[in-house]
């Protein structure tokens, strides 16, 4: 598998987010062409500056913090949950060109483009007949 979903990873507390928050797994769709793999992830409420995408040892980690809305002062009438932290990991095979990964966040949806390496991209070899 070129991009493998890692199940139920748990984020570690960090200097920026020492407080333990509810961890949510963003829903993802994945697409593949001979040239690239595309991942779409729903991360509503995550601003670009609160999204960290980390790649080390072939593991791609998405971590997005959701800031609670500027809560009106006072009591909460009803709150379904802490909007929490979106967290998900993927293991990338050698077939992905790790230098050329691109990410774009729009309307709470992250789009990751993971191009395949030249050697992993199928190539037609022309046969010359002189």
């Amino acid at each position: 598998m070129i991009v493998e979903r890692i199940r139920a990873p748990r984020p570690a507390a960090s200097a920026e987010e020492p407080r333990l928050r509810i961890v949510r797994t963003p829903a993802v769709d994945m697409f593949e062409t001979p040239q690239a793999v595309t991942i779409l992830a729903d991360m509503p409420g995550v601003a670009a500056e609160r999204l960290a995408i980390d790649l080390r040892e072939g593991v791609l980690t998405l971590r997005g913090e959701v800031d609670s809305p500027a809560a009106p002062s006072g009591s909460e009438a009803r709150r379904e949950d802490d909007p929490g932290t979106f967290y998900r990991q993927f293991r990338l095979s050698e077939a992905i060109d790790q230098e050329r990964i691109e990410a774009r966040l729009a309307a709470g949806v992250l789009r990751l483009e993971l191009p395949k390496t030249k050697t992993a991209t199928p190539r037609k070899i022309a046969v010359s007949t002189r």
């Binding site: 769709d29 994945m30 697409f31 062409t33 729903d42 409420g45 809305p69």
Partner: protein, 160 residues
């Protein structure tokens, strides 16, 4: 969590709308508690229709205002519809599949598409002219100002 009972058959769709079937909300709440507790058994949820129950909403309020926050990622502002009828706020909209031709074949699917509708009763009357809505980062925030008559008033106690 993938439902054990095939609730999502289209003929049973109405059962999932809290407006027509109040237990839908309860059932969804159970699912959420179950998911949180068991972590969904590590089962990846397959792609299912986007329904009312998938729209996560928070309602907060103070003396002056009620704030409604709804998570609707990937929806264009023009595809969102907000109506206020008395003290019931209804959000509806449609999430479109943003796959483009050059994305190729879908190899994994968890995100949901389609239309949703969710109504929530507000805790008190609001001023219908004061409603504002904002969409940012896939989150819709609706702010409603409480009607004059229902805002708490501070009453001073006079000393003798």
């Amino acid at each position: 969590m993938t439902s054990l009972i095939p609730w999502r058959r289209s003929s049973e769709r109405a059962l999932r709308d809290p407006a027509t079937f109040p237990l839908a909300q309860l059932r969804w709440d159970f699912d959420r508690v179950f998911d949180r507790f068991f972590g969904g058994f590590g089962i990846d949820e397959p792609g299912l229709d986007f329904s009312s129950a998938d729209v996560r909403m928070d309602v907060t309020e103070d003396d002056e205002r009620i704030l409604v926050r709804a998570e609707v990622p990937g929806i264009e502002a023009k595809d969102l519809d907000i109506t206020l009828t008395g003290d019931v706020l209804t959000l509806s909209g449609e999430k479109r599949d943003e796959r483009s031709a050059q994305d190729g074949d879908r190899t994994w699917s968890e995100r949901r598409f389609g239309s949703f509708r969710r109504s929530i009763p507000l805790s008190c009357a609001v001023d219908p002219d004061s409603v504002t809505a904002e969409y940012a980062n896939g989150v819709l925030t609706v702010a409603l100002v409480k009607a004059e008559g229902v805002r708490p008033r501070r009453i001073e106690v006079k000393g003798a």
